[in-house]
Amino acid sequence: MGNTGDKEQNKLSRRDLIKGVIAGGAAVSSASYLFRASTLLGQATRGAGERLLTINVNGQLRRADVMRQETLAWTLRHKLGLTGTKLGCDRAECGSCTVLIDDVPYYACSVLTHTVRERKVLTVEGLASPEGKLHPVQQGVIDEQGFQCAFCMPGFLMASVGFLKTNPNPTRSELAQGLSGNLCRCQDYDKILTAMMRGAANMREASRA
């Protein structure tokens, strides 16, 4: 699948993957009897009951069976097949799992899925237009060959897109501040910053057009 002309194939494999995930989800739910079912049934408080959630991800309403202790990163990756969101540390220490919730960057590893029920989640998969046109910040990466191994890239992209919503015309220093919650271990910070600055310029250009 590491072929140049292979974008179509990637899409196909994602569909396959989602099929697999639904089966996997069933396995998870069947195993859940191991854990304490709600011992406080009858509580009037919201959230004590249902596990089947509808979440708004990338503009789509997605249903998933979500354990109470499940993080958004886990749900996205293992229940919804959105593996673009990476887990680098699972401890809010690397930023690879950054997603936008109501346009604000969060570490998806440190958000319980049950708490985003009525909010809009945007992941790296939702950045490009449905027709496949890249988001200007994504285009900035292409333009500048930003990033090396790119495991951190989805997180950086989301942090950047989130930050640029509040400051569309940042200096390099300001943007670096905005991206300072994301770690790159290839330490390609200089090129990343260049790519993200380019992305910001692309965005301004796009909004002018």
């Binding site: 699948m1 195993a31 191991l34 990476k86 220490e93 300072s180 271990r185 200089d190 910053l193």
Partner: protein, 846 residues
């Protein structure tokens, strides 16, 4: 924090004059998938019925499992299998290409163990329907340990009567290979065994002054007259310096997913070499490599820690067989800290004699590397060779030992040994320059290697030498671009509590190997399909090197398709992407392959259209006679299939590696197939060089400092892909900078337990720890000993990144502040307060 008002990037650089592709920026084939999030790393795969596995790690640094009871764990519904060390297959011997058997070492690391040799070593693994169940199961396992003596600090095991990290000793001993029986092939060397190295109390007496004690070492070499050198020296310095242990901390951990299908094991994991991880997996599982399929399209960083994946990947493979289902082993960040490899800390002592003008006339180098419990890393010997090349001492002795300890296993990390050697040496040179009243650039210029510079001891009658070195040019160019002279002359150095300092460092490392293969297919549709066995770990060499083939063939890049990342896709024998070999080794292989294609095209054209092959030229997707008839590549491909034999891969050159031969056999008939081994001559060993410059601003009231500016000026031969190169030059510089500004391991000595298991504790640099505008430059002078002129770049900037910061700090604060790295507020402030270095350099893991 200093405000950065410097303008952005310098004017666009032009590289690769006369080339269409080489030296030009382009969009790599993997970038779209990466940027859209569809690029799949090992952990992103999912298979129907997939189980998850979790590891039970040793809480002790050295112990024996006394009692193990897994019944309660197995009784939990959803727990499918438990794998323990006794179920691991014995590791297989290796048969090298020339038929030598390298025997597997029974004392080497295995995926699981009942005698853990470091805290965090995996003992067993549980596969269950999900991670929650697996975790519950592990908590139900009863396990008792018998604690055994342990060692965290290598000096402790050297003390008379000190504890040994392994029951049989503290050091690897290589016994010589037995003589070959007459007429038979030479047997491989026996596996190294473990011996004991202890020093005397007298050896340690010296340590009381904060200097590294120097007892006997197993390894030693020298050249020149050391004694005479010291006698003639105008200045002799004797300095101790200690570098930190640092985890590789690839952002992607060594997660792996595996399943069996039709008798083959399919493994998804990150690796630094698609081609060479296959035989490694075969060895670990004791099966034939032909039964192994490795899928590794994207690897989230390697830096030396995933050279052929990680041995732990056998866990999901074996659990998968046991439970008869695919198994995903997600490695957590904490687990990665334990099993994910690290650079060994090095304790070094340098006695250096300088002439009045700063030339190093004698150098006595002594190093101890903290190896962890398993296979020896080569950092210690490598440090000696790199220092001898980089500073060209007229006489030199190197002594070194690699001590075993009960700390996580080490492996090569970008510039293994080179980084430590440079970081131990550079402060000595900086101090000498101050003592001798010399400029820091000037003293480095006078010691700089040039041309076919020699290094290391005499071997087979003469000292080995480099293919080329243009470090002087890189230093000069860097000094100019960094405005070195201006910065040095600037006054005042101190305003209020802020002091500025500038530092420069030389740096180099191995820049390439030779002798690997390439395969490309000119398809009947006229497209060129290139097969790449290189790991895709982010440097882009997986794709970049093939620009050379397209350039040679005159094929537009858009017509080339690169296949990588799946060992079932008939990849050639390729180097591992470690030690900065890939760009050099694989541009040579790509060049050889393209030349093979070119020759075949010429022959095909001559056969079809008449004339001599050499009358034909290849360009613009055609092979043609000058000003006359020709055929398109598509036509040539069809003709190749028609002719068969050597043209479509049914016959291959005997030079090729067996892996390549097997791949060619599998694709024979698909078009014009070119497959060649790099047999280009090379006179010398390949190295790349960097001159690094840094300016820091220190607040002497808080001990806090900022890096104001940084520049790395590189001599890496011809530039292939400027943006990727820039990313590597600065990226690896920052890796080195991390060693100066904060990365470390901290252990509790009482329990031998690592305390710095989180990023907030081990402190990898963030984007705000480096200047927002870093600069790099590359000379783009071709190396004369390789057809494309390109050398590797990954490792060379690392040592300079670290040492330039340290030198800038000592320029700002004086020589008597620190004797170890990283250097932080605590070191600076306590030393400034006391007026002398307060941190004991030899105390490990603070």
């Amino acid at each position: 924090m200093p405000k950065d008002t410097k303008p952005a990037e310098p004017a666009a650089r032009v590289y690769g004059p006369g080339h269409k592709l080489i030296g030009k920026d382009y969009e790599t084939a993997d970038l779209y998938a990466k940027v859209t999030g569809v690029a799949k790393y090992a952990e992103d795969y999912h298979a129907d019925g997939m189980l998850y596995c979790k590891l039970l790690l040793s809480p002790l640094p050295h112990a024996r499992v006394k009692h193990l009871d897994v019944r309660q764990a197995l009784a939990i519904p959803g727990v499918k299998a438990i794998l323990t060390a006794d179920e691991l297959p014995p590791p297989a011997d290796t048969l090298t290409d020339n038929g030598t058997v390298i025997r597997a070492n029974p004392k080497s690391e295995k995926a699981l163990t009942m005698e853990p040799l470091y805290q965090g070593e995996p003992i067993l693994a549980v596969a269950a329907v999900d991670e929650f169940t697996a975790a519950e199961a592990i908590e139900k396992i009863r396990i008792d340990f018998e604690p055994l003596p342990f060692v965290i600090d290598p000096l402790d095991t050297l003390r008379p009567g000190g504890p040994n990290p392994r029951t049989d000793g503290n050091i690897w001993v290589q016994t010589p290979a037995p003589q070959a029986a007459a007429g038979s092939r030479p047997p491989g060397p026996p596996p190294p065994t473990i011996g004991v190295l202890k020093w005397t109390e007298a050896d340690f007496a010296d340590a009381k002054e904060g200097r590294l004690p120097m007892g006997k070492t197993p390894d030693e070499w020298s050249y020149g007259d050391l004694q005479a050198g010291f006698q003639n020296a105008a200045l002799v310095l004797d300095e101790t310096f200690v570098t930190p242990d640092t985890s590789h901390q690839t952002l992607e951990t060594r997660s792996a997913m595996a399943y069996w299908q039709n008798g083959k094991i399919y493994v998804h994991t990150g690796t630094q070499s698609t081609a060479q991880t296959v035989p490694a997996i075969g060895r670990w599982l004791n099966i034939d490599p032909s039964q192994v399929v490795l899928i590794s399209e994207y690897t989230g960083g390697g830096f030396g820690s995933k050279i052929t994946g990680g041995v732990t990947l056998v866990i999901p493979a074996l659990l998968s067989r046991k439970a008869n289902a695919p198994v995903m082993m997600r490695i957590s960040r904490e687990e990665e800290t334990f099993i994910g490899r690290a650079r060994p800390s090095m304790l070094g002592r340098m006695k250096a004699g300088f002439s009045k003008d700063g030339r190093i006339i004698a150098l006595d180098m002594f190093v101890i590397a903290n190896n962890g419990p398993y296979d020896a890393v080569g950092d210690s010997p490598s440090s000696g060779r790199i220092v001898s090349l980089l500073y060209q001492p007229q006489a030199m002795r190197w002594r070194g030992a690699t001590l075993l300890t009960n700390t996580p296993p080490r492996s090569a990390q970008s510039s293994p040994g080179g980084m430590q050697g440079i970081v131990i040496m550079e402060p000595v040179i900086a101090k000498a320059a101050r003592k001798l009243g010399l400029d820091q650039v000037a003293i480095r210029r006078i010691n700089c290697p040039e041309g076919k510079a020699s290094f290391g001891p005499v071997s087979q009658g003469k000292r080995p030498y480099a293919t080329s070195a243009f470090l002087k040019e890189a230093l000069d160019r860097g000094a100019e671009q960094f405005k070195w002279a201006e910065r040095v002359a600037r006054t005042p150095k101190r305003i209020g509590s802020k002091v500025r300092g500038v530092g420069v460092s030389l740096s180099c490392y191995v820049g390439g190997t030779v002798g690997f293969d390439g395969i490309l297919i000119i398809k009947p549709n006229g497209r060129v399909s290139i097969l790449s066995g290189i790991g895709n770990l982010g440097t882009e060499s997986v794709i970049d090197v093939h620009r050379v083939a397209a350039e040679v063939l005159g094929v537009p890049w858009e017509k080339c398709d690169i296949t990588w990342g799946d060992s079932s896709k008939n990849l050639p024998f390729t180097c591992v992407s470690g030690g900065s070999q890939t760009t050099h080794a694989m541009t040579r292989a790509a060049h050889a392959t393209a030349m093979d294609a070119r020759r075949k095209l010429q022959e095909l054209a001559a056969k079809k259209l008449g004339g001599k092959p050499e009358n034909y030229d290849v360009a613009n997707e055609r092979v043609f006679r000058k000003g006359g008839a020709g055929m398109t590549l598509a036509q040539a491909a069809n003709y190749a299939i028609q002719l068969g034999g050597i043209y479509d891969g049914h016959e291959v050159s005997p030079d090729l590696n067996k892996v390549t031969k097997a791949s060619v056999a599998a694709i024979a008939g698909q078009g014009l197939i070119a497959a060649a081994k790099d047999k280009y001559p090379r006179d010398g060993a390949t190295f790349s060089y960097v001159a690094s410059f840094a300016e820091v601003e220190v607040d002497v009231e808080t001990g806090k400092y900022y890096i104001v500016d940084f520049l790395a000026s590189a001599d890496v031969g011809s530039v292939i892909h400027p943006r990727a190169l820039g990313g590597q030059v600065l990226g690896r510089s920052i890796l080195g900078i991390g060693h100066a500004i904060g990365q470390k391991w901290v252990f509790d000595p009482r329990y031998g337990a690592m305390l710095s298991t989180r990023f907030s504790q081990s402190k990898p640099p963030t984007i705000l720890d480096v200047p927002v505008n870093m600069q790099w430059a590359a000379l783009d002078i071709p190396d004369p000993e390789t057809p494309v002129g390109a050398r590797g770049v990954g490792e060379p900037p690392v040592g300079g990144g670290c040492a330039s910061i340290l030198n800038a700090l000592s320029d700002a604060l004086g020589d008597e502040i620190f004797r170890r790295s990283p250097v932080n507020a605590d070191t600076i402030l306590t030393s400034l307060e006391a007026g002398r270095p307060m941190q004991h350099p030899l105390m490990a893991h603070i």
